[in-house]
Symmetry: C2
Subunit: 252 residues, 2 copies
């Protein structure tokens, strides 16, 4: 099977060319914490200070940073500006990435109005929508353009990141168009599972899911160990035979 892939028997994945995904997800948090410290005029910070600012354990922070290299000074700590630059470089936000937003409804408007992206390594180069009534509307210093211009814009501005804020229905179709146009990273707000070819990264932001996760824990808090729990399994079976009459009998 996958035995042929055993290159290094002893050393466990040296730094080589890969930072653990869990670490990658925390680097932006450290970056933000460092920026805050820098803005406060703090020049040096220990792993303990940084960990507190980032809301993590200091051992974890040190291990995370160690994947980037040895940027601290023992007995002293980390130079805030220097480390900030190193992390920004590692993430790739030392220069701006061009971004298009597709679907300028409620959420698209909010994103278009948000000023926080420009200061964090991203530049919104186009707001696209398929609705002719929206095309031409000005939002800040930008104008909503027709979704048909996608391919042209992606090529001209070398866009590699796309944000989908359309309804769930057209999301896959929009996604396919983005990929075909050359976009290789997608941030999806629509509540659907998008499928993309290899080589394209996709991340989703789903507010309903976040709330439902909170609800799960909330339920546990109130009921603690109580919970009606319902007849977990009726001794024999009784699964398919008797539907629990929740949403009414489904046709089909």
């Amino acid at each position: 099977m996958t035995r042929a892939s055993s290159r290094r028997p002893g050393p466990p994945t040296r730094t080589e060319r890969g930072i653990p995904e869990a670490t990658v997800a925390r680097l932006p948090v450290y970056l933000r914490a460092l920026t805050a410290l820098s803005d406060s005029g703090i020049a040096t910070a220990s792993s303990e200070d940084l960990a507190t600012a980032a809301g993590v354990n200091s051992a974890k922070l040190r291990k995370d940073l160690s994947y980037l290299g040895s940027y601290g000074t023992r007995g002293v700590g980390y130079d805030v500006e220097y480390l900030r630059y190193q992390i920004a470089r590692e993430i790739g936000v030392t220069q701006d990435w061009a971004v298009v937003i597709v679907g300028i409804g409620n959420l698209g408007h909010a994103l278009a109005n948000y000023s926080g992206f420009g200061t964090r390594g991203f530049r919104i180069v186009a707001l696209l929508d398929a609705d002719p009534a929206l095309v031409g509307e000005r939002i800040g210093d930008m104008e909503v353009r027709d979704f048909a211009e996608l391919e042209h814009i992606v090529e001209t501005d070398r866009v590699s990141i796309g944000v989908i804020t359309t309804p769930a229905g057209p999301a896959q179709e929009v996604c396919d168009r983005l990929v075909a146009a050359g976009v290789t990273s997608i941030l999806n707000f629509a509540p659907v599972v998008l499928s993309v070819p290899d080589g394209v990264d996709i991340r989703k932001v789903d507010l309903s899911i976040e709330l439902q996760i909170l609800a799960y824990h909330e339920q546990r808090k109130s009921g603690e160990v109580a919970l009606p729990q319902v007849p977990e399994l009726p001794a024999t079976n009784g699964l398919a035979p008797d539907l629990p009459a929740v949403g009414g009998g489904v046709s089909a």
Copy 2:
């Protein structure tokens, strides 16, 4: 959280009263997939079908579902309606949870206008803002109310979930007020690390972080193994001595 852990030394965490966090985070995805199947008039689905719809591996899906109980039928699959109800019950969205949104700016407006929460187990009971100019504004069938009414509303409507969409500055203060008022679950959109007492759950949605994670992978794609990489470590040290002259000498 890590309190009552050492109860059973031998058996590996029987179903008891705890579903792995990673599984909890996927249950809402399964719930949505089941709802979609149900809407399509499909009465039964195999783990393979479900896994495809949810965008996960079928073995993972089966293991996840096994934490809830034995709700499938071997050789057949899962009854869509039945399983949907069981998951909804486990998550706790068989009845609605009351939610307040604090900070009715760009993002707050978008959330207030969103109709998707009501159908997924949540009921927005109040839109709160500290800005007198906003108070009284109507959004859909709701009216923006003064943040000062928070305590009253939380008590009256038994609110347990709060959403923070204020700027980063006042977020911790708003968070403290929410907690003091009795809210025990918080969804935070402000780009800050909030600290809350034990017993309060907090989740964050951070768009800049999502984009930066995409940027990291994007950078890897283009440069592959290239990347200027910069003098990773100057042979000796050279860390603290020579600041990289990025932000100039800070007064610390």
